[in-house]
Every structure is written in C-alpha cells, then in structure tokens.
Amino acid sequence: MEILLFGITREIVGQNQLTVPTQDRPETVGKLKEWLAQQYPALQKLSSLAVAVDSEYADDAQPLPSGAEVALIPPVSGG
C-alpha cells in the first residue's frame, strides 16, 4: 500500500511517499496510525493528522481496502 505524505510528515519520514509492506497491511485507519507510530515515533505526537483514503477524509474506524490510496495530511499554519 502506497501512502502519500504532505507537510511535516515528509520531513519526519524523509521522503514524499511511503510503502507499507503487504504482510503489514493494516485493516483500518486506526491500525495504520499505530503502524506508523511504531515505524516513525515522531509521527505519534501529531495530535491532528488527517488521513485520506481514496481522496476522502477517513476516521480511525474506516477499513482500508487492499488497493486503497492513502494520504497523510497534517495541519500547516504558515502564511
């Protein structure tokens, strides 16, 4: 599963995109967040991190189908 990264998550991960290995594929958005927290502890401290699944805002309970396109969207404040 491919995850598009935006904002500070790009800096935390060090690239614009992230691949979740097939054997690790989380079943829900909440599980994905747990997996991310394990891999990149700095992501854990983001209290407001929006997750888009197939270009729609997704709550933690939302299931992640196998072909899902996921994006991590943190708030940004600059102006």
Binding site: G7, I8, Y57, P74, P75
Partner: protein, 368 residues
Amino acid sequence: MNINPRYSRQTQLPTFGPEAQQKLAEARVLVIGAGGLGVPVLQYLAGMGVGTLGLADGDVVSLNNLHRQVLYTEAQVGQPKVEAAAKQLTQLNSTVKLLPFHLHLNPKNALNLLKDFDVVIDATDNFEARYLINDACVILGKPFVYGALHQFEGQVSVFNYQSGPTYRCVFPTPPTPAEIPDCNTAGVLGVVPGIIGTYQALEAVKIITGVGEPLTGVLLMLDLLQNTQFKMKLKAKPENQSIKKLKSSYATAGCSTVAALSVETLHQWIEDGKDFMLLDVREQQEYQQGHLTNARHTPLSDFEAQTRNLFLEKPVVTFCQKGVRSQKAAHLLLDKKNDLEVYSVIGGMEQWLAQLGNQLVINQTPNT
C-alpha cells in the same frame, strides 16, 4: 444596472457579467492578516471591486516582509500594516470602502469584528488565529476562505459555507508548537503565499458571485515544487457545527507574538487617548533623564517584582532606550499571560527623540 467602465474586462465575461460585478460591489469582506497571504487577497479583491474591504492585522511592516508582501514599500517599514495597505489600496481603487483594524484578533474582539462582514478570509500565519477564526465564523454563521502553507505546499478550502465542513472537521484540535512549526519562524519563498492568496481571492469571488464551484467540502493541497495537486473530500461533523461560545484563550503555549510599534503610532495612541498600559523598562537613571508622560517605570533588572501586581488586561506597550530590552520585557509578560496583547516600541527613546523631539517627554535634560 450601472456598468462601470473600470470593470469592463470583467463584465464582458459571459459567465460573469454586470450582475456578478454588482454582487462584488455590495459585498463586505474581512481579510484577517495583511501579510504574505493577505497582500494578494487584498490587492485583487480591491482591484476587482469588492465594495467594502475590512483588513485586520496588529503588526507593522518589517524589511524581511517585503520579499513576499509586495504591496508595501521600503518607506513603510515600521508602519502598521493595515495603515500602509489601506494607503496603497486607495491609490489602486479609490471606490472601495477600506476599513483598517490595527489589532490582533482575540476572543474578546473577534465576534464584534466579524459580525458586520459577509465573508471572512483567513490569511493569518498561526494556529491560534486559525482556530479562533473558525470558531467565530461557526458561531456567527459566516463562510470563510482558508489558506495556509508549509514550505512549498499550500492548502486552500472554503469552510462553514452552506452547512459545509469546518476547519475542525479536518483538524479537530490545535497542534502544540512541539508538533508543528508555527509562529513567524519558518521559511517562506516569496511567491508561494502569492499563489495561495490568489486562489483564496478567487474562492471569495466564487462565494460572493455564485460563479464557479467554490472549494467547499474539499481540501485542496498544492505541491508547488512539483506542480501537483491533491484533493481530499471532507465530511461535515455536527459537533463542529454547533459551537456556541468562543474559548477564553486560543493561545498555544510558547507561540505568542510580540507586535512591533512605531514611535509615530505610539504618539498617535497617546494623543487619541487609547486605553493601554505603557511600561518603561529602562533603569532608574535613564528614566529620570527623560520619560514619556504616561509611562510607568518597571525596570527590566527587577521586572518580575515590578510587574507582579499589575492587572494585565488592557494592551501593554513596552518601551526602552533602543528597543531591545522592551522586546525582552514583552516576552516576559507573555510568559505570564500568553493571550496578552503586547507591543514593543521600535527604536525606543532614541527613535522618539529623533522623530518627535521632546513632545510628551518629562524631565528631559539637555545632552551635555
């Protein structure tokens, strides 16, 4: 319908026409923040003929603003942004009614300020203001156009429009400064807020005129380094639409800002009888040699004790000899009360004497 030749190139657009132009003329738009985002928003909304344009900002123009805040001039460095902007915009379009508000938005002034406008533009640069604007717009039922950026990425959306989602439907709670870079510290390439701000101006026009599809229910993300865009569809969450009251403070600890104040503006405030507290933080001898008529003496060397019993409610202006110690004092005050409205006078007493001479100065002894 009165057709103004000034707008002929707009009114001849088949999908726009004189009807949309008339709607612009009748619209009242408030732009909060006259910085990197606010400048292009203000320039284009004024140029296109929005009838009433409010602009709210508590800062003064700095030299390092000019790379992205291209409305201002070098000569305006040190002036309040809203005054400088209003002067420039009047020269561009004298038929627009400009309402400058030199203030930092806070929970006390927000609802009163926003209530008279149809559309609000969030052109601020910090989470504190963004969540406050969101909540105030939800309470008042006003749509607002959101724009924000991080390095070469931008976000744009129209929130709280026709029962659509709000900012909190995307990002429920403000991040702490430890999570996300905030304040005026991150880098910005000059033209990036220019792109995001022009998108915001266009969304405001869509809302006002009904032309096109406003970005409601969608967060648009622009990656300007790679010229890609990504859209996230949003859902309105009822709990975010039922806010009835502002929080008493939106400050995120450690991220409050000290505004710079020019000596001219300070002089004006004193003359106008504006209600604020002026703290002179210089030492005893400096103070005695000459201080402003209404300054309270609170030397920086003993600042904590001197200010312990101050009732920090009204805006505070800190003042010193050259403008350095007043900055420190201002930050100490913010550590005590992080939603306080604090200004530090640029150049301090030396600047005052250079520009205003002995006006309002007490006990000034001649330089011998």
